[in-house]
């Protein structure tokens, strides 16, 4: 009697489509992590030496390989003896192509440099302390030096490295520290600036403002969260950067401080909205019982409402930090983008997202620099994912202590 089935196929089809769409965010997050890490991981396998070049030493030299940073120090003249690298006490003699060409006459090199490979070989084999940096094409089977295995970057070099210089020769430098510190300085500065103001506005809206004022202000403040970051960046560039330059008598106004101020302005709407929502979750009965005990309104706010909402407020702060760490365009436009470890807020800095935005356009797909930038993206991804999971965990339940 009740067995006549409707066309269940359509139901099934749609339910499958809904289910698939439901899992799409999870799939995207998985894909993002897979793509970022696979593209970025290559960094630790690729040679940081300029493409088409090799490094070579004398056969007598006991050194087996060098790190990118050691290579840079040698060519910068900061390391002068093999002893410093664990070898014999012999001074290091760096040889670039030009140096070798200068050692011999044009005749010796032959017309069209046909004897160059021979001379490169001779230059390295005749000098015990030699470190040659030559184009790969001139190295043949007759070469009498020892070609060093490709110079790769280790996890330690990357995470502990103090220099970010992807176009340096002979060896590019990929040290995370200046970018990471730049990001943290700018973000923490922004939160420190935004927090007192954000809390003041949140408390004002939740506790002091009349319903009418609140009804007008809240949507307006939420509206400001929607203004594109590039507009905030433009505003910062036109107004805040010159202001900082003139106020602190700095050579340039593009500094970490400018980034912090712009980010603080951008983070304010988020902090205000989330904190205000948290403050308003305090049960009226709880406030009334405090007032009934003779506590003033301020005491009630300070001792009942804020503690009750503390987890929500903390979540607002953490979300604000997360937003600040990931912000790209505004920061790119006002911080000056110098990849050096900052010592004061009045110096130019460069953040992780700004680095990606500034350099990815020039890095060719698959190059070391490209891989290094994807590694930055992966780090940013993990950092912000961790922050937002953390914020979610603490936001779950309001609690009193």
């Amino acid at each position: 009697m009740f067995n006549k089935k409707k066309n269940k196929f359509l139901e099934f089809l749609f339910e499958s489509a809904f289910r698939l769409s439901g899992s799409v965010t999870t799939i995207i997050i998985l894909l993002i992590s897979i793509f970022l890490f696979t593209e970025g991981w290559g960094l630790f396998q690729s040679s940081t030496v300029e493409k088409g070049y090799i490094l070579c030493i004398n056969k007598e030299n006991k050194i087996k390989n060098l790190t990118p940073h050691q290579v840079k120090d040698i060519f910068d003249g900061n390391i002068t003896s093999w002893k410093e690298l664990g070898g014999d006490d012999i001074p290091i003699e760096t040889l670039r192509m030009d140096d070798v060409a200068g050692l011999y006459t044009e005749q010796e090199l032959g017309p069209n440099f046909e004897y160059l490979p021979e001379k490169l070989s001779e230059a390295v084999s005749s000098r015990v302390g030699a470190l040659g940096f030559f184009p790969e094409q001139f190295i043949n089977y007759k070469f009498k030096g020892k070609v060093l295995p490709s110079i790769t970057i280790s996890l330690k070099d990357y995470f502990g490295g103090k220099e970010w210089f992807p176009t340096a020769t002979p060896s590019a430098q990929f040290g995370l520290l200046p970018l990471l510190l730049g990001t943290l300085w700018v973000s923490l500065g922004a939160i420190l600036l935004a927090l007192p103001f954000g809390m003041a506005v949140a408390i004002y809206l939740a506790e002091l403002a009349s319903p009418r004022v609140r009804k007008i202000l809240k949507p307006l403040i939420e509206l400001l969260a929607g203004i594109p970051s590039v507009v905030y960046g433009f505003f910062g560039l036109i107004i805040i950067v010159p202001l900082i330059r003139d106020l602190f008598q700095l050579p340039v106004g593009e500094t970490a401080l400018a980034g912090s101020i712009v980010l603080a302005i951008m983070a304010l709407p988020t902090i205000i909205t989330v904190a205000e929502d948290a403050l308003r979750t305090t049960p009226i009965a709880m406030k009334e019982s405090s007032l009934a005990l003779g506590a003033t309104h301020w005491q009630t706010v300070f001792r009942v409402v804020i503690p009750y909402a503390s987890s929500g407020i903390l979540a607002a702060i953490i979300l604000g930090i997360g937003r600040a760490i990931g912000e790209t365009m505004a920061v790119l436009m006002v911080t000056g983008n110098a990849a050096v470890i900052p010592h004061t807020l009045a110096e130019p800095v460069r953040t992780i997202p700004a680095t990606i935005a500034a350099e990815l356009g020039e890095a060719s797909a698959g190059s070391v620099q490209y891989q290094a930038l994807f590694m930055l993206g992966a780090i940013l991804f993990v950092l912000t994912l961790g922050i937002s999971i953390f914020a979610e965990i603490i936001r779950k339940e309001p609690h009193l202590d």
Binding site: M1, F2, N3
Partner: protein, 249 residues
């Protein structure tokens, strides 16, 4: 169509909500379920159109039969069952559509496309639910423009439009004023000529007024089930007596 429960036990998770219920509900009659809140009467009612399926983590032992068929059998299509066993809810719940579309809804979802048939059914259902005279000039108006009592009668018309055999009513008048309530009660009385009506109610006068038979539930058990007159005047069980007198008292 006859309804029957055989050894029905029902669980919400670990909670044993209905215990060993056996009952036969006759065709073309009005049967009322009464009892204190949480006694399981609504749960029992909702077994007959399988609305309890919508609650997760529930479990049924025993059989519920509609017209002799076990409706919890695997071969049963729930949508078909619900066409035959209509339901009216505690609070009027018209859709946010016009009066006309509310009544036509059941036909449309069951694949009726012929406009003439739909129109005819809508008019007939509204007449049957004694609403036609009040709404015939505003069929295109939103159902929410009606009063609460009118909305409930609209919901009854909506249920009638799919031509069910059984109508389950879950406290259909509890959210209404006395005048609307009496209109609904008159309607129930009319409906029994064509339908098997089962009504859950808190209001014992209502049960006494409209029903032929009454079942008294307590703590998930069916204490007594008999002719309404007997239940109200001369119940067998002391619990029934206490409940009735406590209420009338």
């Amino acid at each position: 169509m006859k309804l029957e429960a055989k050894n029905v036990n029902f669980f919400y998770g670990d909670f044993h909500a209905l215990k060993d219920i056996n009952m036969i509900i006759e065709e073309n009659s009005v049967t009322a379920f009464i009892g204190p809140s949480g006694c399981g009467k609504s749960t029992f009612l909702r077994l007959f159109n399988r609305m309890n399926d919508l609650i997760t983590d529930t479990h049924l032992d025993g059989e519920c039969l509609v017209g002799g068929q076990n409706i919890y059998d695997k071969s049963v299509s729930v949508d078909e069952l619900r066409k035959t066993v209509g339901m009216v809810f505690q609070k009027p719940n018209p859709f946010p559509k016009s009066i006309y579309e509310n009544v036509a809804y059941g036909l449309r979802v069951n694949g009726v496309k012929d406009k003439a048939i739909i129109e005819e059914t809508v008019v007939k259902s509204l007449q049957q639910s004694a609403l036609w005279g009040e709404v015939k000039d505003k069929l295109k108006k939103s159902a929410y423009a009606l009063s609460g009592g009118q909305q409930q009668r609209l919901c009854i018309a909506r249920a009638l439009a799919v031509s069910p055999s059984v109508i389950l009513m879950d406290e259909p008048a509890s959210a209404l004023d006395p005048i609307s309530t009496s209109k609904i009660e008159e309607l129930i009385f009319e409906l029994k000529n064509q339908y098997t009506v089962v009504i859950v109610t808190h209001n014992m006068q209502q049960a006494a007024r409209v029903s032929d038979k009454t079942g008294f539930f307590m703590l998930g058990e069916m204490i007594e089930y008999a002719d309404t007159k007997k239940i109200f005047l001369n119940p067998d069980k002391e619990q029934t007596q206490n409940y009735i007198t406590g209420r009338f008292g």
